[in-house]
């Protein structure tokens, strides 16, 4: 098992290396740099100082020199300094990544909480009215753009009904570590994560439904029935466990999707996380942050697939990892 994980991680290294080159080249290929047109609020600047600053930031070095410098630091765990935030990228990320992880985890959990029962109902009672409604909902959610939906949620539940806070990740007036603090955190999470979750159920519902339909006609289910196992146990013990396999396998890939979705959610709900940070850095050409984020999300994707494999091997005895 350990060997397997190690092996997979070793395989990741060249991938990440390639990714690093590509990302670096892309970052450089984007028009403009961190200083382009960006001195909007510093009206007093002369060409010489600007050149001096570019020099200081290393923007004048040939790209390969910049790359080597970057990769060297990267390997020592130094992600560089954000130009825009004037802060080491590691610090910046540690401020933000917690929020995104929390949000993503909530979305994931919520979407499973919503999707799994629906998928089960719809797979178990195929072609029933409930099934049709659920399938209808899953199409609808598939067809609705996330940002519109999130905005509507925000207006309805945040403003019109006023049930939830409309921005930020926590109320600043509560003391960190108190019960109130955690309640406030959760309260701020509900709306964005629910918006994300409601729209990201379609995959899970459909997979689960298909999988149950497939599994319920398998021979071993017949065997279980022939044993006299009650219907509810047939589902809980035999069909569902088998049907969850592809969902478990999908879990790792979900991570990629979450990073994409967080860009929208974070900007609509003013929730400071890395999605928003990524967008901001892209817009402002904050190279060190962009490259760090891409590397991290690449790593997350790779680890996600690894995670999927590990989960899969944990639940499926047929897949043994030596």
């Amino acid at each position: 098992m350990l060997k397997f994980i190690l092996r997979r991680i070793v395989i990741m290294i060249p991938q990440l290396f390639l990714l690093s080159i590509l990302v670096f080249l892309l970052a450089k290929a984007m028009p403009g740099d961190a200083l382009t047109g960006r001195l909007a609020n510093n009206p007093k600047m002369d060409a010489q100082t600007l050149a001096e600053m570019k020099e200081k930031l290393g923007l004048n070095d040939p790209p390969y020199v910049q790359y080597v410098r970057w990769i060297k630091n990267l390997m020592q765990g130094d992600l560089g300094i954000s130009y825009i935030h004037q802060q080491p990228v590691t610090d910046l990320l540690s401020e933000r990544i917690g929020n995104t992880l929390l949000l993503s985890a909530c979305i994931l959990i919520l979407s499973y909480i919503i999707a799994i029962p629906l998928g089960i109902v719809s797979g178990r009672w195929t072609n029933s009215l409930a099934d049709k409604l659920i399938v209808g909902y899953s199409y609808l959610s598939f067809a609705t753009p996330l940002f519109i939906f999130a905005l509507l949620m925000l207006f309805v539940f945040g403003f019109i009904l006023g049930w939830f806070p409309t921005g930020g990740s926590v109320n600043i007036q509560v003391e960190k570590g108190t019960v109130d603090y955690y309640i406030s955190k959760i309260n701020h999470l509900i709306l964005p994560s629910l918006s994300g979750a409601l729209l990201s159920t379609v995959g899970t519902i459909q997979y689960l439904r298909n999988e149950i339909i497939d599994t319920k006609i398998k021979d071993f289910v017949k065997t279980a029935r022939a044993k006299g196992v009650p219907e509810s146990r047939i589902y809980s013990r035999h069909i569902l466990r088998n049907s969850f396999l592809p969902i478990a396998a999908f879990l790792g890939y979900e991570i990629t999707g979450l990073i994409g979705g967080s860009i929208f959610l974070e900007s609509i709900f003013s929730y400071p996380g890395i999605g928003q940070l990524f967008l901001q850095s892209i817009m402002q050409r904050d190279y060190s942050v962009i490259t760090a984020l891409v590397m991290i999300s690449g790593l997350a994707t790779l680890l996600g697939t690894l995670l999927s494999d590990i989960i899969l091997s944990a639940v499926d005895p047929r897949i043994r990892i030596e």
Binding site: F220, K222, G228, V229, P230, R237
Partner: protein
Amino acid sequence: MSKQPILQIENLRVSFRIHDEYYAAVDGVSLTVNENEVVAIVGESGCGKSALALSIMGLHPLERTKLEGTIAFKGKNLLPLSVPQLNQIRGKDIGMIFQDPLTALNPLMSVGRQIEESMDYHTKLSSSAKRQRTLELLKRVGIPNPEKTYDRYPHELSGGMRQRIVIAIAIACEPSLIIADEPTTALDVTIQAQIMGLLKELQQQMKTGIILITHDLGVVAEMADRVAVMYAGEIVELADVNTLFSRPLHPYTRSLLHSIPSVQTRKEKLHVIQGIVPSLQKLPRTGCRFKSRISWIDESEHEKNPILREVAPGHWVRCTCYKNFYFPQDNIGDMNYGIS
């Protein structure tokens, strides 16, 4: 010696819905299985053997299947029972063995647990007692290392082992009837021989009745007490095993027996049954269903509405078309064969 009937099937019809219409895959089958008796059902693929077996267990998808007639298990009709009621009987009084031992086992559950599972619902044993019993069962079906095997998963076992597990599941609660749907078809001959031996041995020990579905006449000859030959949803011939092999009457039974190459005798040419089994929708529903496949027997020889007749004690044949069909090696005249 009079035997207690445990299962009495009367006039069973099993119909499946295809394109909004129901087609009978099992059509008016009556069959009795006595205690401590092995009844074999043979026939070509698609003749309705499995459909018959599944209907006893109530395992057909309810929304697409229509069941008519009666299936009386120890005098109690199973057909009107609800699923929870059936669950009282399934696994406890009737056990089932499926054809493919790999797909018949849940890949995600240890085999020990799978055997134990039926005890969960049919006995009040403590978990250690259940485990104890499972280990015994494993030993009984000839698994060399029960303790170790208990925690194994199906894919870790060989085909023969798996089939033993399936058998262990079927006999876990000492049922009085076992339905074995092609239990050895997927296995090699040597393994097949072992499994057959095991089944026979268990049957003799437990005095259970067995419905053995197969298309291998060799297996039938070795295992069965009585044989029912099915064709196109109907039983065309029913007799005890010796009679059936020595004096087959229905042309279909005869053809089957002659078309199989045997190790003992080498023929230059095998007997060929013309044509194919028609699909469910195209099945002839009137007259002798085998008619179209024996062109050398004249139309008029077949009955209009063939029924299963007892032509000799315990020997039942459908349709009289066999009568003028002469087989030199048979000595019909010798016996009291007549048409009642």
